[in-house]
């Protein structure tokens, strides 16, 4: 079964389920005319209110992950297509609606160092939130709310309250941001590379909190990361982006254990395994190590944007944009699956020989 780019859906909810957040065929470009950078190219994504879910958006730098997230947050109006919250255009909300939207959709950004004003104690983050959204009517109620929120992220209130941002570690600051989000009892948290600046030992702590939020409080998370192993650990669903397009969607575990799109496979093969017994072997080296190769060939977006790096490339990959095709629970934008006999990359024939990236460039020189 073939679908086009408009019906990209991660959620597989019932008919009546109301989409909470949705990107519908969103295209976002920066710059003008021929030089324009296409950051998002007809991206669609849907998060329902029920059931809560963890959705990871992964891809290399420049693949458009953050632009998609910013569109959902009301920070980046799409050039075309719609960013919707409860069926309404996020960029045309009334003042009242925007207030509710801001409450239901929370964000944790990448940099836990830049987000705090160094002149004020941590409490200010909570004070402003409580005041702005009128969460507490008395001082005592306010204190209780803050303490409850800090406990929800496994911080001891005396360790945090009254202290200044520089006295906390990166992991603690990121947890303060999660506690702030918790105060508002949001429906969804957008975490944009929220763990990438943290030490490995702390990353797990943050991911565990997001998983607990989902299980215990019904809060969904859109988790933007370049770290596929983090997405694997979180589970849920995944959207793999490449040069502005969603190239593969599906449950995280199945996508990573059996990637359908050659790009997903390349990404997975490049992830270093923490097991020294599973070292890379040149024989497995994907032919397309370098992202530069062939970039100038037929510079048109009306084709598969992975063609120049793809070991399975065929002539018609260059001719039109491949649609998203449903294969089991997964969807992949790859023409290989237009042949109904093909259900996995194992069925496909490679068209370019497997050589190491280094060797390839050396041959070229």
């Amino acid at each position: 079964m073939s679908t086009n780019g408009t019906s990209t859906r991660v959620a597989t909810a019932g008919k009546e389920a109301q989409p909470l957040l949705e990107l519908r065929d969103v295209t976002t470009t920066f710059g003008h005319s021929a030089d324009a950078t296409v950051a998002n190219d007809r991206v669609s994504l849907r998060i329902d209110e029920q059931p809560p879910r963890l959705v990871s958006i992964v891809g290399e730098s420049g693949s458009g992950k953050t632009t998609a997230a910013r569109s959902l947050l009301g920070l980046q109006p799409p050039t075309s297509g719609l960013a919707l919250w409860r069926g309404k255009d996020i960029y045309k909300l009334s003042r009242q609606e925007r207030m509710t939207f801001r409450r239901e959709v929370q964000v944790v950004f990448q940099d836990p160092y830049g987000i705090f004003n160094p002149y004020y104690p941590i409490n200010r983050v909570f004070d402003i939130t409580i005041k702005k959204f009128k969460l507490a009517s008395s001082k005592q109620q306010k204190q209780e709310l803050i303490e409850e929120a800090l406990k929800a992220v496994n911080l001891r209130p005396p360790d945090v309250l009254g202290r200044f941002p520089h006295q906390l570690s990166g992991g603690e600051r990121q947890r303060v941001m999660l506690a702030r989000a918790y105060l508002l009892k949001p429906k969804v948290i957008v975490a944009d590379e929220a763990i990438s600046m943290l030490d490995v030992a702390v990353r797990a702590v943050i991911m565990n909190i997001l998983m607990d939020f989902k299980e215990q409080l019904g809060i969904s998370t859109i988790f933007i990361t370049h770290d596929l192993s983090a997405a694997y650990y979180l589970g849920g669903d995944i959207m793999v982006m490449q040069r502005g397009r969603a190239v593969e969607l599906g449950p995280s575990i199945s996508v990573m254990e059996d990637p359908k799109h050659p790009y997903t496979k390349l990404l997975l093969e490049s992830i270093p395994s923490p097991d020294p017994d599973k070292r890379w072997d040149a024989a497995e080296m994907p032919a397309s190590g370098l992202s530069m190769g062939g970039a100038n060939r037929r510079f048109s977006r009306d084709r598969c944007l992975f063609a120049e790096r793809c070991p399975f490339v065929m002539e018609h990959c260059w001719e039109r944009r491949p649609p998203l095709i449903q294969i089991g629970e997964q969807q992949a934008a790859c023409v290989l699956y237009e042949n109904p006999q093909t259900t996995s990359l194992d069925d496909a024939t490679m068209t370019t020989p497997h050589v190491s990236g280094i060797e390839r460039e050396m041959v070229a020189s």
Binding site: S61, A201, I253, P272, D275, P276, P286, G289, I358, A364
Partner: protein
């Protein structure tokens, strides 16, 4: 030639050096800074050995002193009021080690670049944007006394060694991708055919497939140039793919060293164990990861005793007062902290009171 990252065959390459002193030996190195708030003991009693033609990794959290340690090897710590003790013995030919802490700035400058190359963190962003790549490679060589003509002639060969085409020499930095810039930096580092390359976070901020290419480039260079490589990275999977031995750094000290396989499979120090337990792995178990609670302590005020005691799941009374020493653990079967019996192979070195060898005399 096909580049393969795999275990080296022991003894195939070391024979080329004359003596048997290790290439680099760090003994009880301290790097302290006098700050307005007191003495920051950023590196405090660190020990590490690096053999000829070996790839060694240093791993640890941010703030553990990894970068300061390698800066001490290069003698490039510029912060005012530095106080350093200890020895950094360097022996490019395996004989008569030179203590880098004792030699003059002039001699150090000669060693640096010629025998020790340094790839600092984020250095790919420090290429001069208005100078062509080729000129920037030539510059370093000319500085170290090679004639401009010879330096120029060597550029294509250097670029080829890191897997770049000769035409890259004519380009400007903004025309290159991150991975290509990093390889240019490596080409500059190997220009003088050093015995040691020190690379600080060489793949941080690069995409995974570019990271793989850089790691394979480094591995390939080790085999081709007979060079030793010291890699600093917070990313354990990077070490697992590239290095032969690893040193785990915590709070200014190396708390565990050993060959990469056994350190990853059977971490002896609870901190190493915590690190290993915090890494998700694709296709591996999806059991809840533990992470390590708490933060790295401040170098202004390291905890007494074992510096990890306030975060350690196996903390004992002695840990709070007596500092464990880095010691080789007697090989053989022993009970792991979680009750399982494990086999400790020779050459495992750790500083932790769980192993009696680590407790100083009279400590108990």
């Amino acid at each position: 030639m096909v580049t393969t990252i795999q275990e080296p065959q022991p003894g195939t390459r070391r024979a080329q050096t004359a003596g048997n002193a290790p290439l680099l030996e760090i003994r009880n190195l301290d790097v302290h800074f006098n700050t307005p708030r007191g003495v920051a003991r950023v590196v405090d009693g660190a020990n590490l050995i690096l053999h000829h033609n070996e790839i060694v990794g240093i791993a640890g959290e941010s703030g553990s002193g990894k970068t300061t340690l390698v800066e001490a090897i290069l003698q490039i710590i510029r912060f005012p009021n530095r106080v350093t003790h200890g020895q950094v013995l360097f022996s490019p030919d395996g004989r008569d080690p030179i203590d880098l802490m004792q030699i003059s700035a002039r001699d150090m400058r000669r060693l640096r670049g010629q025998h020790i190359a340094y790839v600092p963190q984020g250095s790919m962003n420090s290429l001069n944007p208005v100078v062509r790549i080729g000129e920037q490679i030539v510059e370093g060589m000319v500085d170290h006394g090679i004639s401009e003509r010879r330096a120029r002639a060597k550029v294509p060969e250097l670029l080829a060694k890191v897997g770049l085409e000769p035409m890259v020499a004519k380009l400007y930095p903004h025309e290159l991708s991150g991975g290509m810039k990093q390889r240019v930096i490596i080409a500059i580092a190997i220009a003088m055919e050093p015995a040691l390359i020190v690379a600080d976070e060489p793949t941080t901020a690069l995409d995974v497939n570019v990271q793989r290419l850089i790691l394979e480039t480094l591995h390939h260079l080790r085999d081709e140039l007979n060079v030793a490589i010291l890699i600093v990275s917070h990313d354990l999977p990077v070490h697992a793919q590239l290095v032969e031995r690893i040193g785990i750094m915590y709070a200014g000290q190396i708390v565990e060293t050993g060959d990469i396989r056994s350190t990853v499979k059977l971490p002896l120090h609870p901190y190493t164990e915590g690190l290993m337990g915090a890494i998700p792995s694709i296709g591996g178990s999806r059991d809840r990861l533990q992470g390590i609670e708490g933060a790295t302590p401040s170098p202004l005020n390291w905890p007494d005793g074992c510096r990890f005691h306030n975060r350690c799941p196996h903390v004992m009374d002695i840990c709070r007062s007596v500092q464990p020493l880095l010691a080789e653990i007697e090989p053989g079967k022993r009970k792991a902290p979680d009750g399982e019996t494990v086999e400790v192979i020779p050459g495992r070195v750790v500083a932790c009171h769980l192993y009696p060898e680590s407790t100083p005399e009279g400590g108990r």
